[in-house]
């Protein structure tokens, strides 16, 4: 029996990058996976991949900046699979990997980042609470090592990821008595954005790899996905309020 058999996991931003890897990993562990996406065609591609492997998944429209879509995605997940055991908020602003000129950046750019990572985290937590409490489930936020260390270039991204870490610490205390665990994962993973950066600068990949003790960027499904599976399964039932850094040893800050 797989570790997540009879469990339902909703992954926001599950159509590509890290989110796709999380969805595939959870499905591989036996979960019924709900792939929340803005573009259903990308979600359906993930669903097909899961199906090819013998798993179960469905795609739902879920722009996390629209709270009604979040609520509808949760309702559809519960209707189809009988409940929701885990929600993984992975979606980020499409501009999350773009450098920000901190001292001159407009507030409108901040608002774009915050809408997906802070306001949406609030709405997702509110919408998911009762369903997660019913199943003694878990809420996971995909944050970043930048949310611990700060970032000279990606300052807005770092701050919204830090906000999620702050949310995790208090919400874990608040929801612990209800049996709901709240954690974060801070991955360092190969992403389409990083692939584009490597293509633009042939030397960049080598420089990045040289900073990682394990010598490579994480694979979304094979390296980051298992961390999410672990936080969804019973083996982590005594873990809450934590940020699990999955970075090949690149980041060791406590």
């Amino acid at each position: 029996m797989s570790s997540l058999s009879d469990r339902t996991v909703l992954v926001t931003g599950g159509g590509g990058g890290v989110g796709r890897g999380l969805a595939l990993a959870c499905a591989g562990a036996g979960a019924s996976v709900v792939v929340g996406v803005r573009d259903l065609s990308k979600g359906n591609e993930v669903v097909e991949r899961v199906s090819e492997r013998g798993g179960t998944a469905m795609a739902v429209a879920c722009d996390v900046t629209a709270s009604d879509q979040v609520e509808e995605a949760l309702r559809m997940a519960a209707d189809r699979f009988g409940g929701v055991d885990a929600v993984i908020h992975n979606a980020v602003s499409t501009r999350s990997s773009q450098p920000v000129p901190f001292e001159a950046a407009p507030l409108s750019l901040w608002d774009e980042h915050a809408a997906v990572s802070i306001t949406a985290s609030f709405h997702i937590a509110q919408a998911a609470f009762s369903r997660l409490a019913e199943r003694r489930g878990t809420l996971i936020f995909m944050t970043s090592p930048a949310g611990v260390d700060g970032s000279e270039q990606l300052s807005f991204y770092a701050a919204v990821k830090a906000a999620q870490r702050g949310l995790v610490k208090s919400l874990a205390r608040e929801w612990g008595p209800h049996g709901v665990r709240v954690n974060a994962i801070a991955p360092l993973a190969a992403t389409p954005a990083m692939d584009r950066a490597f293509a633009a600068d042939p030397h960049l990949e080598g420089r990045v790899r040289s900073l990682i003790p394990l010598g490579r960027l994480g694979d979304s499904e094979l390296d980051i996905g298992p961390a999410a599976v672990f936080l969804c399964e019973d083996g982590s039932r005594y873990i809450t309020g934590q940020t699990l850094v999955v970075s090949g040893g690149r980041f060791t800050t406590g």
Binding site: F102, F122, L171
Partner: protein
């Protein structure tokens, strides 16, 4: 990086949002220590008048939190005090100490308790950079210590505090070469609360303090600690410490 020496102290500007209690006390303390003080807050003019009545040198300006042109103009007026060595940013809602379950918060309450203070801090950091970019200086961002460890009922405050703390770290990384240091002062949540319980007069943040444990020391008013931190960051530690979080809660939180 400007490093002060001798008896003359450069000005410090204190910028705060709707909750002004700690900022008011800090401004008064800085003035007692001989600092020219700029106070940018909803009550700035009143606080400056009080400081002046006590023999201090102060300019008070009201600027709505997060209003970039208004803050820029206010900081410009504060340069009338002479060279500015430091800017302190303290943005918190008046009821920061009041516990609320996340599921009970309206969108408006979430924004007031979490996201609006972050936006104000961001604009404050940007304008502090503009003010200090020529001569260098120190920026101090004030957050509650619960941001470091979390507390039941304080999701909005901790989410906001951690975002502000990492904005400060990112700014520290970026502006170090310009001689601007950016550090964080972490203070007890009750020090940020301007709205004690009407019935008892007590500060309502006891629940948060319970999750932190007792302090190792008996902490004085955090305003004294922040004033001392500003002295250090513009004096002997000028240009030496940046991106750090300094706990001013008597050791209740000893997070790394």
């Amino acid at each position: 990086m400007n490093r002060e020496s001798g008896a003359t102290k450069a000005a410090v500007v204190v910028v705060s949002g709707p909750a002004t209690g700690l900022a008011d006390r800090l401004a008064a303390r800085l003035a007692e220590d001989g600092r020219p003080v700029g106070i940018v807050s909803p009550r700035g003019a009143d606080v400056a008048a009080a400081v002046q009545a006590a023999g201090g040198n102060a300019i008070g300006v009201a600027a709505p939190p997060g209003d970039r042109p208004a803050l820029e103009a206010a900081l410009g007026r504060c340069t009338g005090l002479g060279p500015v060595a430091a800017v302190v940013l303290a943005f918190h809602p008046p009821s920061a100490g009041r516990a609320r379950e996340l599921v009970s918060l309206s969108d408006e309450e979430w924004d007031a308790g979490c996201e609006a203070p972050i936006r104000s801090c961001l604009v404050g950091l940007q304008e502090a950079h503009h003010l200090l970019s020529d001569s260098g200086g120190a920026v101090v961002v004030v957050v509650p210590t619960v941001a470091l460890v979390g507390a039941d009922g304080y999701v909005a405050a901790t989410t906001s505090g951690e975002a502000q703390r990492i904005l400060a770290k990112s700014a520290a990384r970026r502006w170090g070469a310009s001689g601007i240091t950016v550090n964080v002062a972490a203070v007890p949540l009750d020090a940020l609360d301007d709205a004690p319980d009407e019935a008892t007069g007590a500060n309502p943040s006891g629940a948060a303090q319970l999750s932190l444990g007792p302090p190792a020391l008996t902490p004085p008013d955090p305003a004294i600690g922040i004033a001392s931190l500003v002295d250090a960051l513009t004096g002997g530690l000028g240009g030496l410490v940046t991106g750090a979080t300094v706990g001013l809660d008597g050791g209740a939180v000893m997070a790394p």
